[in-house]
C-alpha cells in the first residue's frame, strides 16, 4: 500500500474528532499500563495508617482508601490488569472464533450447520451470564475471567467472520485461486482472511470495551480479581461500603473504567467509519 492510499484510508478516521480522542485515550492507557508501576508515587499495597479514607490532597491526588492506600498509585498499577485481561480474552476469542467462522462460511454443509448451532447455544446465554457460568465452574480469579471473556467472544467472532466469508468466497479472485488449484487452507489464509480483516478489527476494538466492563463487573461481584489486587472493579467493590461517607473511594476507579471503555468505543466507531464506508453517514 503506497502513501497516498494509506492517507486516503486514514482520512475519515482523523477527520472525526471523537475517533482521534478515542485513539489518544487508548494510547495513553497503553502507556500507563506499561509504565504504571514507575509512574505511581507509592507502592499500591502500602498502607498509610495516618491517612485512611482521606479525600484528594497534594500528598494523595485522588485520596486514600479504607486501608490508607494511595488510590492514584493503585489505579496506575491496576491499569495493566484491566487492559491485559480484556485484551487477552478478546484475542483468544478471536483466535478460536475466526477459524470456525472461516471454515463454516467457506465449506458450508453439515460443518456450517454444526458450528452455527453450537454458536447459537453459546449466544443463548445473554451478556455476562455465560461468563458467570464459566467462573462458577472454574472458580474466581483473573485467569478464569480471561477464559470467560474468550468463550464469550468465540460465537461473536465466528458469526461475523462466517457472514463476511460467505460474501467474499463468491468473488472472482477467490474463484480464480480455486481454479488455479489452490487448496482450501491457502485460499482461506491468503485470499479470504485478508478481505474479512476490517470488520474483525472493528469488532475486536468494540469487544475490548465490552470485555473491560465484564471483567470489572465480575471483580466488583467478587468473582474476578481477589484482594488486595488493584484491579479497578475490585477497587470499586472496596469503595462500595463507604459510598455514604467517602464516595471518592468508589468514584475514581469508576471514572477510570468509564474512560477506558469510552476510549475503546470511540476508537471502534472511528475504525468502523474508516473501514466501512457504507456506515459512514449513519452511525
Amino acid at each position: 500500500m503506497n502513501n497516498q492510499h494509506l492517507r486516503k484510508l486514514l482520512r475519515p478516521f482523523f477527520k472525526r474528532t471523537s475517533a482521534v480522542i478515542g485513539l489518544a485515550i487508548v494510547l495513553f492507557l497503553v502507556i500507563v499500563a506499561l509504565l504504571g508501576p514507575e509512574l505511581a508515587g507509592n507502592d499500591p499495597a502500602k498502607q498509610f495508617y495516618d491517612h485512611m479514607l482521606e479525600g484528594p490532597s497534594r500528598l494523595f491526588p485522588l485520596g486514600t482508601d479504607q486501608l490508607g492506600r494511595d488510590i492514584l498509585s493503585r489505579l496506575l498499577n491496576g491499569a495493566h490488569l484491566s487492559l491485559a485481561v480484556a485484551a487477552a480474552g478478546v484475542v483468544a476469542g478471536a483466535v478460536l472464533g475466526i477459524p470456525l467462522g472461516l471454515t463454516a462460511g467457506y465449506f458450508g454443509g453439515w460443518w456450517d450447520a454444526f458450528v452455527m448451532r453450537v454458536m447459537d447455544v453459546l449466544l443463548a446465554f445473554p451478556g455476562i451470564l455465560l461468563a458467570i457460568g464459566i467462573i462458577a465452574i472454574l472458580g474466581p480469579g483473573l485467569t478464569n475471567v480471561m477464559i470467560a471473556i474468550a468463550v464469550f467472544g468465540v460465537p461473536q467472532f465466528a458469526r461475523l467472520v462466517r457472514g463476511s466469508t460467505l460474501q467474499v468466497k463468491s468473488l472472482d479472485f477467490v474463484q480464480a485461486a480455486h481454479a488455479q488449484g489452490a487448496g482450501a487452507v491457502r485460499i482461506l489464509a491468503k485470499h479470504v482472511l485478508p478481505n474479512v480483516l476490517a470488520p474483525i478489527v472493528v469488532m475486536a476494538t468494540l469487544r475490548t470495551a465490552q470485555a473491560i466492563l465484564i471483567a470489572s463487573s465480575l471483580s466488583f461481584l467478587g468473582l474476578g480479581a481477589t484482594p488486595p489486587s488493584p484491579e479497578w472493579g475490585s477497587m470499586l467493590a472496596d469503595g462500595r461500603a463507604y459510598i455514604e461517607t467517602f464516595p471518592h473511594v468508589a468514584a475514581f476507579p469508576g471514572i477510570a473504567i468509564f474512560l477506558t471503555v469510552l476510549g475503546f468505543n470511540l476508537l471502534g466507531d472511528g475504525l468502523n467509519d474508516m473501514l466501512d464506508p457504507r456506515l459512514r453517514r449513519n452511525l
Binding site: 445473554p126 461481584l221 453517514r281
Partner: protein, 306 residues
Amino acid sequence: MLRFIGKRLVQLIPTLLGVSLVIFLFVRMIPGDPARLIAGMGATAQDIALVREDLGLDRPAVQQYFSYMGKAFTGDFGKSMRTRLPVTQEIGTRFMPTVKLAVVSMIVAIALGLLAGVVAAIKRNSWLDYLSMTGALIGVSMPSFWLALMLMYLFAVKWHLLPTFGSDSWKSYVMPAVTLGVGAAASIARFTRAAMLEVLGQDFVRTARAKGLQESRVNLRHALRNALIPVLTITGLQFGFLLGGTVVVESVFAWNGIGRLLVDAVEARDYPVIQTLMLVFSLQFVLINLVVDLLYGLIDPRISYE
C-alpha cells in the same frame, strides 16, 4: 400465524437441546471431583458418595443426561445445597421481582432510546443530535455498578429523594430501572438514529412530504414505522443483556430477584441453583427473541409468516 409460531418453536429445539446439554455438562466440567467440591470442605467419604449418587455421577453419562432431562420435564431440578429447599421453590419466590424490574427498565430504555434516536435523526447535525449521541456514547460506556453507586450517593444519601434499597414502592424502582435501562437506551438510540436516517432518505418519505403531510406525521407514521424493524431486533438483544445486567444491579440495590440469587449461588457453589438459573435466563432470552420475530409481522405487513 399459528403455523409460523409452531415452525419457529420447532426451529428452537436444537438450540434448546444444546442449552440443556451445556447445563447438564456444567457440573461435570468442574475440574477434579465435582462430588467432593460440591460436598464442601470437611465432608466425609460418605457425604461425597451421597452427593455422587444424588447427582447420578456414578452412572454412565448418557443415562445421566436422560435422567436429568426426565426430572427437568417434571419440574424437579434438585435441592439447593445451601438451604436444602427445592430449587424451583428457591427460584419461584425470586422470579417475579426480576421480571418486574426488567420490564420497567426496558420501558425506560425504549422510551429514552426511541426519543433520543428519533430526535437526533430529525434534527441531524444540530446540537440536539450531538447531545443525544454523546449521551448514548456515555450510556454504553458507563459501568452499571458505578452508575448505581453514584445514583445511590446523590439521590439517596445526599438528597434523600429515593430509597437505597427495597422494592416496596414505585420510588424503589427508579434507581435500579434507570441503571439497567441506560445501557440499553443508548444502543436503541444509536440504532434508531441510523435506521431513521436511512428511511428519511427514501423516495416514499419525499412523496409523503410532497403530498403536503405534516412533518410530524411524515416522521412518525411513515419514517419511524419503517425504521422500527432493525430497532426491534436490537431491542430484543438488549433485553437479553438487560437480563444479564440484573445480576449486577440487583446485587448493588439488594433487590430480591434471581440475578442476586445467582451471585449468591456462585459464591456458595450451590450448583443445582446455578444450573437451573442459567436455564431460566437462557429460556427467557430465547423466548424474547421469538416474540421479537412475531412482532416483525405486526410492524411491517410485508413480512409474511409463511
